[in-house]
Subunit: 254 residues, 2 copies
Amino acid sequence: MQRYFIPQIDWQGNEISIKGDDAHHIIRVMRNQVGDQIICNHQDGNAAICEITSLNQNIVHAAVIDWKAETVELPIAVTIAQGLPKGDKFDLILQKGTELGASRFIPVKMDRSIVVWDGRKIEKKMARFEKIVKEASEQSHRNKIPEIVLPMTVAELIHESVNYDVKIFAYEEEAKVEAHQSFAGIVSRIVDNQKVLLCIGPEGGFSEQEAKKLKENGFHAVRLGPRILRTETASLYALASLSYHLEEINGNHD
Amino acid sequence: MQRYFIPQIDWQGNEISIKGDDAHHIIRVMRNQVGDQIICNHQDGNAAICEITSLNQNIVHAAVIDWKAETVELPIAVTIAQGLPKGDKFDLILQKGTELGASRFIPVKMDRSIVVWDGRKIEKKMARFEKIVKEASEQSHRNKIPEIVLPMTVAELIHESVNYDVKIFAYEEEAKVEAHQSFAGIVSRIVDNQKVLLCIGPEGGFSEQEAKKLKENGFHAVRLGPRILRTETASLYALASLSYHLEEINGNHD
């Protein structure tokens, strides 16, 4: 059943008005009729099976039939702080990160980021990003759309990081040479409802200065397997591992 | 240090001749000089630090200085059998799957595959695929380049599957409704050097007939986390989880 995220303002009790792209999708793409069922997600994270009660050119009305009891969200809130990557890699990180359960994305201007996200174009860029995570949330049957915040500096990220329970950065060199906590060791101590901040460098990795600052501020350096991952693959490895450990191993009733 | 996979024929004892694209990369892209060091991978899976002894217009000679002791390969051999997906998704599966440690890829014609890989164009396609996995192997510092086989049918895959120790297919519906082995349960019983076959459906998933045949032939249905993953994300989730379990949890010395 197709799933739509409906803004709070369009819920009147158990009656929903669906407009814009979603109405277009229901009417023109899915060619739904009155009586057909869809899933509507509320911003509070709940989802309801709804029946279409009327359609016209650009608005669809639906009524809640039943609220769904689902556990499709990771038991923890994972934020991906990603060093600005080149090209359209951030699109891939958003789409795959959403499928894999991330709750928040922070683009971070780092020393070795080659691209600069132009201030004048940032509004248009953010609108595109919002569309990517909304569509990926619908496709993967998530109950929450991840948040994307405006780009920040490493100093701002460190300031922000006081709000997190567990802070990790993918830094192979560090993980190799010094006594360190392994990624699996850290994950095995995570408990439900904790906030996890995972920081990934851009193509060239973290500068030594950045790595030093992150360490001084409570970030643990980890390796994500023994192979060298591209910047856009690192967060996907980490999210899949978190899901596997918390949702598959811990949820394993063999 | 840059890494190159050198065909067996170009090794004469500890002397190596580097030709073609690799020579072009060393001379024109990296602008290496005599005396510079590179890593050369032998087809047997070993890698050597080598010193460039001469360069001319289109050939580079190098000599082995030291063989490297590396463990960057997964302790098991994972084959991804992927239902033919649309567009250029198979490119992404090959690139990311190689980074994440896959050893073999089998494209499989499935009931719900929408695309047909044209017989006349398959040679060109395979050449492009080979290039993707070679470059991804070099980039991720692997010692082995994954093998890509020609597309086969599900019947041929089942015939081929007798060579594997563990057979899994990602089939959410099955994993939901019946008594089943969890993915984590299966992974926790895998031992080093086993051959694992992981089968992923195309965009529309497996047909009931395909799922039935796979089950009858010893494939275990598993879910890969509670969210719905796109076809190109499923193998990445599974490979990251296998790496996390076998290389990070089992290799965890906290």
